[in-house]
Amino acid sequence: MVRLITHNLLACHAKGCTSNNFPLAFSNVQIEIREAEFNPEFLKNFIPKVEWNALVDTARQLGDTSLPLEQPEMLDEEFLKSLHHVLLEIHVEEGVMTCPNCKHEYPISNGIPNMLLAEHEIG
């Protein structure tokens, strides 16, 4: 159940990897769409925390182009609905997340990303 909301909060944390380590890039993904309850209040609270460019780029990578490149100032219903879909309904079930800097690979299996580092990678 890696949703884009989670993905938007994750950066690579391997030893020595401190810059250009966000966002992680998806590859070999299996996607499942699962409906979730629409909650505009949550989205409004969450919008200030979103890294917008990372979210849009990742959504496009996964084939969803409903979000505008620039974060709109007006939050209309239609925009919130597409944001809801992108953040909470796209589930990456299987695949790999790769750090853009050190190329460390974080596998996702059964929907749970494994962010554990091997013993030589911890700082």
Binding site: C12, R34, N45, G111, L116, A118
Partner: protein, 340 residues
Amino acid sequence: MFFKYLIVFAQAHHEFRIPELQSVAKIHGFDISLPEGEIETDRPFMIVGLQSENHARQLAAIYEFYAQGSTYEEVHVQNRANQALWSRYKLNTSFKFFVTAFNHKLPQTQQRQVVESFSYTDFMGKIDMKNPDIVLGCFEEYVEKKGMIRDRHDDHGQFRQVYLGRWIEELGSARVLIKTFDVKKRNYFGNTSMESEVSLLMANQTLASPGKLIYDPFLGTETMAYPAAYFGAQVLGSDIDGRQMQGKGSDRAPDLILYNYTGHLLTFDITHNPWRCGGLFDAIVTDPPYGVRASAKRLGRKKDSVPKGWRCISNIEAILAHDSPYIPPTKPYELSNLAV
């Protein structure tokens, strides 16, 4: 303006009483005025001030306060003085009057005497024990005498304080949730799953409500996450060991449906966490690992556990080739190192 209300607390977790009241008031956006001075949280009754009866409905076991005293004479005097509060129920209102005692058992005859002593209130409506329009409650509070031998009829009437009030029907008590979230009813739980009442109390402390993002860094079997999600918050959780979160096969599925739960799960060691910078979460709620049954672990190999033949951990290629799939080793960790 504040009106006085009497709260009859549940007899468990009394340290949580005041914080719980404050967070419920905060979630529902109303003010509550607590008694001045030091509050004895282990006493079961408390008089608080609320601005309207609608606010009181958000709380459970709450009574419109009429009178209190250390003797019935004091109560009657005060109750007569507060006649304005109850005189509107004199005509055409069916009622029920009950007397109960805390730390004591009142015999029927004495209960009856107490009820009769309020005959001056002159309620004309009919007495209805099943579906009354109003319920009046009288509570005697006795000093706890645990472990002391005493005669059955000792102490009758020697109470510490007595309270009188009219019951206010709550909109929905969260106490039923204690049963809903009962660990024993789950299909899937672990040996250190948190007991449901405490997990609900803790979820309320985080002000969990729709619109919040709440994180649990020691997710385990997700006991802390279920109530927070139930109150409408989005829940993110992580654990160093992904197996407990995942369950075996479809073990967890019925629970997830029961609690209408969708959490976001991750596997990592909180002492090496991958969160990017920025204030990401509204609250963190967790049951951290301590003690023997679930001890704290972090990534790393114990010095003496490097297998023979490998000179040092830096020979990582050999280790990776040997353990396939590679599962990073963990070592014990002092919880006190984690607490700030």
